[in-house]
Amino acid sequence: MANVPAELKYTKEHEWAKREGDRVRVGITEYAQEQLGDVVFVELPKVGAKVTAHQAFGVVESVKAVSDLFAPISGEVVEANGDLPKKPETVNKDPYGKGWMIVIKPSNAGEWDQLLSSQQYERFVAEAAH
């Protein structure tokens, strides 16, 4: 079973979300990068872009597949990981660390509570595997 840090929140689209003060850092889970395989392309929104919960904010491509990145919560992009387009393999190597995607300034605080806990996400992944 892939690593699912207990301190993070998750989506059914396999993004993680981490609260940092009044902001939320977002990436894809270890399970997601394993399923994708070697990531060769990452496209992220520009700082200042608005993202909406459950809607695509970017794209990640592996050798075999194209996947949309979905926003865990709505808000404004205040940071985007500028290293990823040049070093997409970072997503495979360190999905919860250097492989982060964007930082969002949330516009709807209530959405945070809709996200999955690590236990809920683990259960979701285990069920999806069957």
Binding site: G37, D38, V40, F41, V59, E61, S62, V63, K64, V66, P85, K86, P88, E89, N92
Partner: protein, 366 residues
């Protein structure tokens, strides 16, 4: 999915090795073991093993065999020595491609065809209905095929073979035991590296596979999935049936004019292909290099100044060239090397240029 997926004799070995299994052409095949890029590099630098037992093999023999093959295939089978292999195609009367294949001359009037896995039933129907006078045998089910590819392939196969394999030239074939298994040793491949394709009886495949892995440890051998097989062949601009060629494409526009030999006489598709040759193909399969990081994929439109001029047939990041590369059919006026085009990716035209192929230099034995 209606029909259950077929499995090769090496299925258990793949699962045990931790391969990710996926459906491919009606088969459950390993798409990757350690990772596509790592596997790709292993083949370019040391040696990789591929289970390609899903591919089909037909035998045809007897006095009618040569005539049957001459009427079915585009290349000149009469030019083959015993022990020689030839890349060729089966075509429809309209010039569209039924399948691409290799033709083996195994004896004076004994031949073997190796066809694509997803086309076995269609091809069998095709060859037996159009050249049914010859004696055909479909040996796909009982035949396994292991490709050993990479700069260390000759060292590895040579160590396990009872015969000298260094004397088997490129696109030549010989019988010989490998790891004690009766093997048809073919110096062919689909990677652009030197290497062999080893045809064995299905029940011997697991033993040969294990012996190659064990003995190959000192050579840095790795099992390779279909994912890396695809990126390796893409860097060589080798066509993949169903992606780059199919019933709607003719050999000339696909850049396969070198396997069409009209001088040999009549064959299925000859008139249609000769018409294309006389007029010049309306489009050509070209190599594209993306100017920036962008993955062009099968079906993406190719544009010139905003107007559609073609379509991508295969595309990926090429691990050995470290570029984003693609193959695409492009209208003939825009197909020259150096032409600047665009590939439409998610509604945005990304700059691409027609480049010389192969993208990566071939290192097959000459």
């Amino acid at each position: 999915m209606d029909t259950p997926l077929k499995r090769t004799p090496l299925y258990d070995a793949h699962v045990k090795a931790g391969a990710r299994m996926v459906p491919f052409g009606g088969w459950e095949m390993p798409v990757q073991y350690s990772g596509i890029i790592e596997e790709h590099r292993a083949v370019r630098t040391t040696v990789g093993l591929f289970d390609v037992s899903h591919m089909g093999e037909f035998e045809v023999d007897g006095p009618e065999a040569l005539g049957a093959l001459q009427s079915l295939t585009t290349n000149d089978v009469a030019a083959l020595d015993i022990g020689q292999v030839q890349y060729s195609a089966l075509c429809y009367p309209d010039g569209g491609i039924v399948d691409d294949l290799t033709v083996y001359r195994l004896g004076a009037d004994r031949y073997m065809l190796t066809v694509n896995a997803g086309n076995i039933d269609k091809d069998w129907q095709w060859v037996t209905s159009h050249a049914g006078g010859a004696h055909w045998r479909n040996i796909s089910a009982e035949t396994a095929l292991i490709a050993v590819q990479g700069p260390k392939a000759e060292t590895l196969v040579g160590r396990l073979a009872e015969r000298d394999v260094t004397t088997i030239g490129y696109y030549r074939v010989a019988y010989g035991a490998v790891a004690g298994v009766r093997t048809l040793i073919s110096r062919t491949g689909y990677t652009g590296e030197d290497g062999f394709e080893l045809y064995v009886a299905g029940q011997d495949a697991a033993r040969l596979w294990a012996a190659l892995l064990e003995s190959g440890r000192q050579d840095g051998v790795a099992p390779i999935g279909l994912g890396a097989r695809d990126t390796l062949r893409l860097e060589m601009r080798y066509a993949l049936y169903g992606n780059d060629i199919d019933a709607t494409t003719n050999p000339l526009e696909a850049g396969l004019g070198w396997i069409v030999k009209p001088a040999k006489g009549q064959f299925l598709g000859r008139e249609a292909i000769e018409k294309v040759r006389a007029a010049g193909p309306a489009r050509r399969l070209v190599g594209l290099e993306m100017a920036e990081r962008a993955v062009a994929r099968h079906g993406y439109p190719v544009v010139k100044d905003g107007a559609p001029v073609g379509v991508v047939t295969s595309g990926s990041y090429g691990p050995s060239v470290d570029r984003y590369i693609a193959m695409a059919y492009v209208a003939a006026p825009h197909a020259a090397v150096g032409t600047d085009l665009g590939v439409e990716i998610r509604g945005q035209a990304k700059p691409a240029r027609v480049v010389k192929t192969p993208f990566h230099p071939s290192r097959t034995k000459k």
